[in-house]
Symmetry: C2
Subunit: 361 residues, 2 copies
């Protein structure tokens, strides 16, 4: 078997090794059924237990209040980009978005199909290198929308925007869900593609306050209504079985190691290691995100030339530190260090970056 | 490890054991990457090869002409129920459906959102026990739609309906794709949730003739346009990685055993074994589907009382023949014997049914 590498790709991302080992171990015989988990009926009691457990673990780890529904849907966050405005639109009321990167731009594009969209703050003019300050949503709008972490640019919200009491705040948490403790009550809807911080690609977590389920227009395709999925405990149609199952194993693991508080402690420590390398490099590495807007998940930086960056990426690959090439929107390099990235991987990367600087400056 | 059972559930369904073993074997280290297949980037060359291979295998095994696109989407056939009328609607033109069971009823419901739907034939009055004869679609309609196999009722189309040259025929093949050779050119669009005959739940195959990609209205959410997925080789957003990967392994296996022709030969033999038990039972077992409309995939039958049926289902479970309870729409029993169900499983079931009759009549 090839030596296990450290995977710094932006997603699909690394998963905890014990989770992968457990999935492998029981792959041919799930829960004593004599079948693989990908063969069992989604109406069987064994499968219902997987979904109930996964849902209860989200509720427990994130502290989701009882008046919120937890849904496991397919289609990725890209599908929620239109399902959010479709399900939350109110006739004659605007939808307000904050533009902080490529993903929020995509969300805004889809919302335009459903009504008036107002971009109330944007960092686009400075290549999305920061989170706008003092953001305040208006009274009397359908909803407000933010993207809590911006994978491409390496920024994250470090404060809560001001939201009028009756306005639901919607948040795309795809790239940093559970990277820190949050108060779910601050949000009307939280959504997240699983493939960065929760599990494998193919399933999307949606947490939605119950009173928001009834806004959706009647003549909407069944599969596009959160309400239908909520009423059917995400079993209206055959769910993406294996991705949900692996999320459940990963959530078990997160609970075992101490929950979100412990995960956050580790994340802060991991991110500091890399930001310290950047900040003490005398400009050899230039961080893209402003210090007050730095992400714990995606560390973006550039160097003095594309040739040097390329050399650094290749040297990393040779040492088993893979996926370090930055997204084209920022260029340079990006290290994605999601919840499941072990401290050892980040430590190896930090050491490599210091060595690389010593040899190449 | 528990003894492997024979799984007669309607789906998710049994998969070939060598496919499961291969997936297990390489689960921690895919293609020498030092990562699990669920961890690798969907933009990596290793992943692109999986998708290209899966697509090429579909093209080869089904004989898909070059002017058809092959898409791997999420959301199940239930999502295609609205994506079909959305992508194929033509202003002022009707959409014609044949109503042959629960799934086609659901497809019809979604189409009603997009325009005038005409049900040109239906077997609903006789509890969907047959496929209507001499079906002929009208000139000058947006498209015609059929469901090739009806999972709940155990019926399948045994002939091609008449379709005017310029009308695209759309077919939901979720429950019998590749159970026999077809001529793809007879169809404008073929779609199938993977979890019965292709692989695990979480991915849907859509085969669409290229000239049909441009009908979709411009102001449609990006994720709902086949055209976008076609232009991006199903990589517009992160695809459901693991389900596609297992489909690829299953397609490799199907090719290895001789392709669709051989699979059909085995399916005919398997189905005959069970229909012969029913037909020679002197009415102890009553087949639900008319003989001319029988499915090769789902064998539905009832007995003289629910108590007897229940006893038979329980006796089967005790022998490792599981999932035999019929759907509530027909009652009684149902044996789903998809492509991957081994002959030995069907043989054991046939023997059990004969024994059960001898002991209980």
């Amino acid at each position: 078997m090839t030596k296990r590498v450290y995977n710094f790709y932006a997603g699909p991302a690394t998963l905890p090794l014990p989770v992968l080992e457990k999935a492998k171990e029981e792959f041919l015989d799930f829960a004593g059924t004599g079948m693989s988990v990908i063969e069992i009926s989604h109406r069987s009691k064994e499968w219902e237990k997987v979904m109930t457990d996964a849902t209860n673990l989200i509720r427990e780890l994130m502290g989701v209040p009882n008046d919120y529904k937890i849904l496991w849907l397919s289609g990725g966050a890209s599908t929620q980009f239109f399902m959010v405005p479709l399900n939350l639109q109110l006739p004659g009321k605007a939808m307000e978005y904050v533009s902080t990167g490529g993903w929020s731009s995509k969300a805004i594009k889809e919302a335009n199909i459903y009504g008036e969209v107002k971009i109330i703050a944007s960092s686009e003019k400075e290549n999305f290198s920061y989170i706008p300050k003092d953001v305040e949503f208006s009274e009397d709008i359908a909803f407000g929308h933010i993207t809590s972490n911006n994978t491409l640019y390496g920024t994250a919200w470090g404060y809560m925007p001001k939201v009028p009491k009756d306005v639901p705040l919607v948040c795309d948490m795809s790239s940093n869900i559970m990277d820190r403790s949050i108060d779910v009550k601050d949000y009307g809807v939280i959504y997240a593609g699983a493939q960065k911080n929760l599990g494998p690609a193919g399933v999307t977590l949606v947490i939605v306050r119950e009173d928001l389920l009834n806004r959706v227009p009647e003549h909407t395709p069944t599969m596009q209504k959160w309400k239908i999925h909520a009423e059917n405990d995400s079993l209206y149609n055959t769910p993406p079985v294996f991705p949900i199952y692996v999320c459940k194993l990963a959530l078990d693991y997160m609970k075992e190691i101490g929950g979100v508080k412990e995960i956050n402690k580790r994340n802060v420590k991991k991110a500091k290691l890399l930001y310290d390398v950047i900040d003490s490099s005398d400009g050899f590495y230039k961080g893209h995100a402003r210090k007050d807007s730095r992400s714990l998940m995606n560390i973006t930086f550039t160097m003095s030339s594309p040739e040097l960056e390329d050399k650094c990426v290749k040297g990393g690959t040779a040492r088993g530190l893979i996926g370090l090439k930055g997204h084209r929107s920022v260029g340079g390099m990006r290290a994605s260090i999601y919840n499941a990235m072990p401290f050892e991987g980040v430590k190896e990367l930090a050491e490599y970056l210091k060595e690389f600087q010593a040899e190449n400056q």
